[in-house]
């Protein structure tokens, strides 16, 4: 097993262990076993179909990252926290992770699959930004700072400016 694949497996297992920690044993063990089964099936299936280990690892990581908001929401749904503050913090983290994943998803670019693997169901995707600017689209996605600035400015403009005047009839 290659080091990238081993690292991806460790990350998925580690994250699953983390977000299920402290839950009711039946629920916790069921989720961990289910993820473990999925990892095994996915690994075996893609290996049989001849995908390179690095591609399998990258796909696992993407499935992990894109699912983290759902993991946190699921955890919050089943939370048994004594403190309301902790529970609220979990919800806030979940919402923040949705924003992060949305931003991440907007920066992903699919790689062209190799010939003969076009209907395989999995492909490698890579992070284009911030490591490399997208060159084949006219406007690259904004950085988080730019995004926040633009959003704030737009909100302020909508709130402060009066509505635009109705269109005037064309004069002859």
């Amino acid at each position: 097993m290659s080091p990238p694949l081993r690292a991806a497996l460790a990350l998925v297992r580690g994250w699953t262990y983390l977000y299920t920690a402290g839950m009711a044993p039946a629920l916790r063990d069921a989720r961990r076993a289910e993820i473990e089964s999925d990892l095994w099936e996915f690994h075996e299936d893609t290996r049989r179909r001849g995908y390179p280990p690095s591609a399998i690892g990258a796909h696992m990581l993407l499935r992990l990252v894109l699912g983290t908001p759902a993991d946190l929401f699921w955890r919050a749904e089943h939370a048994r926290f004594p403190s309301r503050i902790v529970q609220d913090a979990l919800w806030v983290t979940a919402v923040a992770s949705v924003a992060f994943v949305w931003w991440l998803a907007s920066t992903l670019q699919a790689l062209e699959p190799p010939e003969g693997m076009r209907r395989g169901g999995i492909d490698v995707m890579r992070l284009v930004y911030p490591f490399q600017r997208i060159t084949n689209v006219p406007s690259p996605p904004p950085t988080p700072y730019e995004f926040a600035r633009l959003t704030t400015t737009r909100c302020l403009i909508v709130r402060l400016l009066p509505p635009p005047p109705p269109p005037q009839p064309a004069s002859r």
Binding site: V12, T16, A30, R31, A33, E34, I35, E36, S37, D38, W40, E41, F42, E44, D45, H59, L62, R63, L64, V65, L66, G67, T68, P69, A70, D71, L72, F73, W74, A110, P113, R119, G121, I122, D123, M125
Partner: protein, 118 residues
């Protein structure tokens, strides 16, 4: 935004459709990865449904009683040297929900066809 009571979100609908599709091919029980792969193939998607999204949706469908699940006999994975699978089945209620969703999707299309000029 809260969803309407009893309605299915697109992923839940996709899971029920994929489960019905598997059953029509003689596969009554399916595990998580199998359903993710079926959905991915049907949508011609490059990426399989994320772990968290998939298993949260499956849990929700089970809570809504549209799916039932059981863990397979531990002797089987022990013999095949792999982790045990949680096997899901589409219930009669799941079939009904799928039919209802199909009707809901079909109605606007039918109305559009009726209204569209010939």
């Amino acid at each position: 935004m809260r969803r309407k009571q009893g309605t299915l979100v697109p992923l839940e609908l996709a899971i029920c459709e994929a489960a019905a599709g598997l059953r029509s091919r003689g596969i009554d029980e399916f595990h998580g990865y199998e359903i993710a792969k079926t959905i991915g193939d049907a949508a011609d998607s490059k990426l399989l449904t994320a772990y968290g999204t998939l298993y949260r949706a499956l849990a929700r469908l089970e809570k809504m009683q549209l799916l039932t699940s059981r863990w397979e006999d531990p002797a089987i994975p022990a013999r095949e040297n792999r982790p045990g699978r949680r096997l899901y089945t589409l219930t009669a209620l799941g079939d009904d929900a799928l039919e209802d969703a199909g009707r809901t999707l079909e109605e606007p299309a039918r109305a559009h066809r009726r209204l569209a000029p010939a």
